[in-house]
């Protein structure tokens, strides 16, 4: 598919430095990049690889505290951006180069209507009159298949769902018909079912207007659908670049191969012991936040000793609420939680130390789950001290043992603070804190969704090893089906606060499915560059995500009650 046409963006020997510890450190160490008109290039790499920094540099922009070195060259359509004045660069941004940020919800100004923000750029550059710009916006909304295109722009950002907002943002980037759009992880924060809508919309519109794009992501399967060429980055340097098909089928460098191999991990399926009392059993639970609508509706499931139960579903389906009910943070309105057949007090304040220690949590965002002002030794040591009454040398020995368990060197990490660690290391500390309580059951709330694939795989392997060694039961909340495939023993699918399907993993990945499970499964991007096209042909463009979920027939024969 690569169209060899005129060169739009030419970056040569790009070096970007950041200021830290009173010296300038290279963040980007000499990257070359050539983008032709109408070409889509995928930039992938783990976090800290410099993807977003390069994206910003393509607009001639360096974030505060960073600078583009003088010998780098960024040439956009014949214009050298590194030597251009700020005024000249500003004239490009928005008009000829546009940017779509990761979180549309955080990037829209909540105080203005979407269409007012949309028409701002065309009006600013005097390209269109207000009414023209407005009509054009509606046209773009239409092309991006937003529901109610004529009306949706007149809402405020909070009145629109995340996936729609992301599409509105893409429409906004298109408002001046730019030559280049930079997409910075546009679908990372979305569910699989929503992601697919956004992907299809973005791909369509980029093709229609023959816009060049830099597509930044850490999800290989996504980039395979979008990009003509893929460039792999590692720690500010280029690893390799090749057309998508070639890159997928025949990666050259070891690092690229390791990225491709990530999804290979799979733990063997375990089965329930016959007749055993479940470790945790959730019985006919209804729950709601104060006077709000019911979040959980008659939810029942069992978790057996030493097994991993994955709870999947899109956001808002009640997965995390389920975890809150089990931990006692949200006492249920109806129903109860049994632990080894004994009822568990509904409120965590009424549970005794032994009951509290049995059930631990690992959080999605390790940044907010670890106190940044407390040393690692205390974060891990406190539960051991609190529950087991360890002191002095015994406590230190226990912390060292736990650090060993999570594969971090005790002598190196004992006295550090969380902000000094990388995302994956923080998540490991979170795991160690849960283990320190010597629990029998751990709730993992989206523990890998904020991590890069390589790091996430390491965490999954660690969790699996710990499970075998310590006979732990996991409740694994996730919306990523690849994670489910690799670690789960049993799967529970939730939608609108109800359990729609549950059973052993191997059965779940084999048809027949509940229609919703089917939708979830088929929406997970695959490493095949034609996957999205094939899927669109099968399902039709109007039968994706929310639209498809709404069309599920409640009387479908496959729905088992």
């Amino acid at each position: 598919m690569p169209k060899k046409k005129e060169v739009l963006l030419k970056i040569r020997d790009l070096k970007i430095q950041g200021y830290s510890d009173e010296t300038w450190v290279d963040i980007i160490k000499g990257v070359d990049l050539t983008l032709h008109r109408g070409e889509v290039m995928g930039l992938i790499g783990e976090s800290g690889a410099g993807k977003s920094t390069i994206g910003a540099a393509a607009m001639g922009y360096a974030r505060d505290g960073t600078r583009i070195t003088e010998d780098s060259s960024i040439e956009f359509d014949g214009m050298e951006l590194t030597t251009a004045t700020e005024g000249e660069r500003r004239a490009l941004r928005g008009a000829r180069i546009a940017y779509v940020a990761q979180s549309a919800a955080a990037s829209f100004n909540p105080a203005h209507k979407i269409i007012d923000q949309h028409t701002e750029a065309p009006l600013q550059y005097r390209l269109k009159k207000r009414m023209e710009a407005q009509e054009d916006a509606v046209d773009l909304y239409n092309r991006l298949r937003l529901p109610n295109p004529a009306e949706i722009g007149f809402r405020y950002p909070h009145q629109v769902s995340g996936g729609q907002l992301q599409r509105a943002m893409t429409a906004m980037a298109m408002s001046c018909r730019p030559d280049l759009i930079i997409f910075d992880e546009p679908t990372t924060a979305l569910d699989v079912t929503t992601q697919i809508e956004v992907l299809a919309a973005i791909r369509d519109i980029v093709e229609q207007f023959n816009t060049a794009a830099l597509y930044i992501t850490h999800d290989l399967a996504v980039v395979a659908q979008m990009a003509d060429t893929i460039k792999v980055l590692l720690k500010g340097s280029e690893v390799e670049e090749a057309p998508t098909a070639e890159m997928l089928s025949n990666p050259k460098e070891d690092y690229t191969k390791s990225l491709w191999a990530v999804r290979s991990f799979e733990s063997p399926q375990r089965f329930r012991k016959e007749g055993a009392t479940p470790l945790i059993s959730v019985k006919e639970v209804d729950a709601a936040y104060s006077a709000g609508p019911k979040i959980l509706n008659n939810v029942s499931f069992d978790i057996h000793e030493g097994m991993t139960v994955a709870v999947v579903g899109e956001s808002g389906s009640g997965k995390s609420t389920c975890a809150r009910v089990i931990t006692g943070l949200l006492p249920p309105q109806k129903g109860e939680i049994l632990f080894k057949g004994e009822p568990f007090p509904a409120d965590y304040r009424q549970r005794n130390k032994d009951q509290l220690r049995q059930c631990q949590m690992i959080y999605q965002m390790a940044d907010t789950a670890l106190n940044p002002k407390v040393k690692i030794s205390e974060i891990i040591g406190r539960p051991a001290q609190f529950y087991s009454g360890l002191k002095g040398a015994a406590l230190k020995a226990r912390v060292d043992e736990l650090l060993d368990l999570i594969e971090l060197d005790p002598s190196k990490y004992y006295n550090r603070y969380p902000p000094e660690l990388s995302g994956g290391q923080k998540q490991r500390i979170g795991i160690a804190r849960a283990l320190a309580a010597e629990p029998s059951f751990i709730i993992c709330d989206e523990v890998t969704s904020a991590l890069d694939q390589l790091v996430a795989e390491g965490i999954l392997r660690l969790l699996d090893r710990l499970q075998n060694e310590l006979n732990l039961a996991y409740m694994f909340i996730t919306h990523d089906l690849a994670t489910v495939r690799s670690i789960a023993d049993e799967v529970i699918v939730m939608q609108h606060g109800k359990v729609v399907e549950q059973g052993p993993k191997d059965d779940m990945f084999k048809p027949p499915h509940h229609p919703y499970t089917d939708l979830l499964l088929s929406s997970v991007p695959e490493m095949d560059p034609n996957w999205l096209s094939t899927l669109l042909e099968e399902r039709g463009v109007d039968n994706l995500g929310d639209a498809a979920a709404a069309k599920i027939d409640p009387n479908d024969a496959k729905i088992v009650r």
């Binding site: 943070l329 130390k353 940044p372 205390e378 539960p383 609190f386």
Partner: protein, 353 residues
């Protein structure tokens, strides 16, 4: 034209040309505009005005040099971690720290520094400055300089105690309210509103006239006036911390309120609280000085800057600046503390670049 004027212009012009030659944009603009201003000022005010400008510039340069040296001194005596933080301090903050340091020394070692006793009458009323009395005598013939030094101890000490008391009450209640929530939070919030609705000076005057102007009464009254403001800030800051996952994790572990506040919430709210402490200290200081000026603060013969201004106020009509010296001491400390607080606020707000 005197040699001074010729030297003055020669220096300015050489410096601005040098700046222009070495392509230093900002210093050049500053020096050259100063030259232009000096032309006009020189024509209007003559050599005297130019001397004033030169004197001001020299004073500024001296202050900058002192601050720079003092910052280097601090960086060298504190540990590595703290040294790194200090390196980010602008010169104004270093100047503020230097002033605070000088005041602290003067306050702590007052009896050794002051040449005469606090209430010792050594000459006639309003005697002019001489070799014995650096700043002359006050309305009863006591040494002004000695009283100024002792005043540091009394005024600053009182303000510091009152601010600490306000912080202990306000921050304690704020942290508790944020952690407990519910009716306790509501009750404390409304209680703070009630106190804040009473004009502070009137409240202080009321308390002091009921219980009499003694040190403990002043401290308690001032602390009560300022505690609600601290309460509000602490509650807001802690409110942002209690929703974090690590607090939830600690709660689920079964930790008590004491541990939650002490180990989890407090370490994450210190930065804005310290900045607020500096700010509140200035307000408390000014309120105490104001009370003293009204005659309801620290009672004579104890030296205190506020009352010193009032007692010597008559001298103003004779063109003497003596009563302004304690006022200047108050102003200098306030400015110094604000310089330091600005730097801390800048750091805690994350506006690093």
């Amino acid at each position: 034209m005197s040699t001074f004027v010729i030297g003055y212009y020669a220096l300015l012009l050489t410096a601005s040309t040098a700046a222009a030659y070495f392509n230093k944009r900002q210093p050049f603009m500053m020096l050259f505009s100063l030259t232009l201003v000096s032309f006009i000022v020189g024509i209007i005010g003559g050599a005297g005005a130019l001397r004033a400008i030169a004197f001001a510039a020299a004073a500024l340069a001296l202050a900058a040099m002192v601050s720079y040296a003092f910052r280097e001194f601090l960086i060298n005596i504190v540990g590595r971690e703290l040294g790194k933080e200090l390196r980010t301090a602008p010169l104004t903050a270093a100047f503020g720290m230097f002033v605070i340091f000088v005041y602290a020394i003067a306050g702590i070692f007052a009896p050794w520094i002051a040449p005469h006793g606090e209430a010792e009458v050594i000459s006639s009323a309003f005697a002019p400055a001489d070799a014995n009395m650096l700043l002359g005598a006050d309305q009863l013939g006591r040494d002004m300089f000695s009283r100024l030094v002792y005043g540091t101890r009394n005024s600053v000490g009182l303000a510091l105690t009152a601010t600490i008391a306000a912080f202990v009450m306000g921050a304690g209640a704020g942290l508790l309210a944020a952690t407990k929530g519910g009716w306790f939070d509501n009750f404390m919030g409304r209680f703070a509103d009630v106190i804040m609705s009473i004009p502070s000076l009137i409240f202080a005057l009321l308390m002091l006239s009921i219980f009499g102007p003694s040190m403990p009464v002043i401290i308690i009254a001032v602390a009560i006036i300022y505690a609600p403001r601290v309460f509000r800030l602490t509650r807001a800051v802690a409110g942002n911390v209690v929703v974090m996952d690590y607090i939830e994790a600690a709660k689920l572990r079964g930790e008590g309120t004491g541990y939650l506040i002490r180990r989890e919430i407090l370490p994450n709210s210190t930065a804005p609280l310290i900045a607020e402490f500096g700010l509140e200290f200035c307000f408390v200081f000014l309120l105490v000085a104001g009370l003293s000026f009204l005659g309801l603060g620290i009672q004579p013969p104890t030296a205190d800057w506020g009352s010193m201004v009032r007692e010597n106020a008559t001298l103003i009509s004779f063109g003497e600046i003596t009563p302004l010296i304690p006022a200047a001491a108050i102003a200098l400390l306030t400015v110094a503390v604000n310089f330091v607080v600005d730097w801390m606020l800048h750091r805690s707000s994350g506006l690093k670049e």
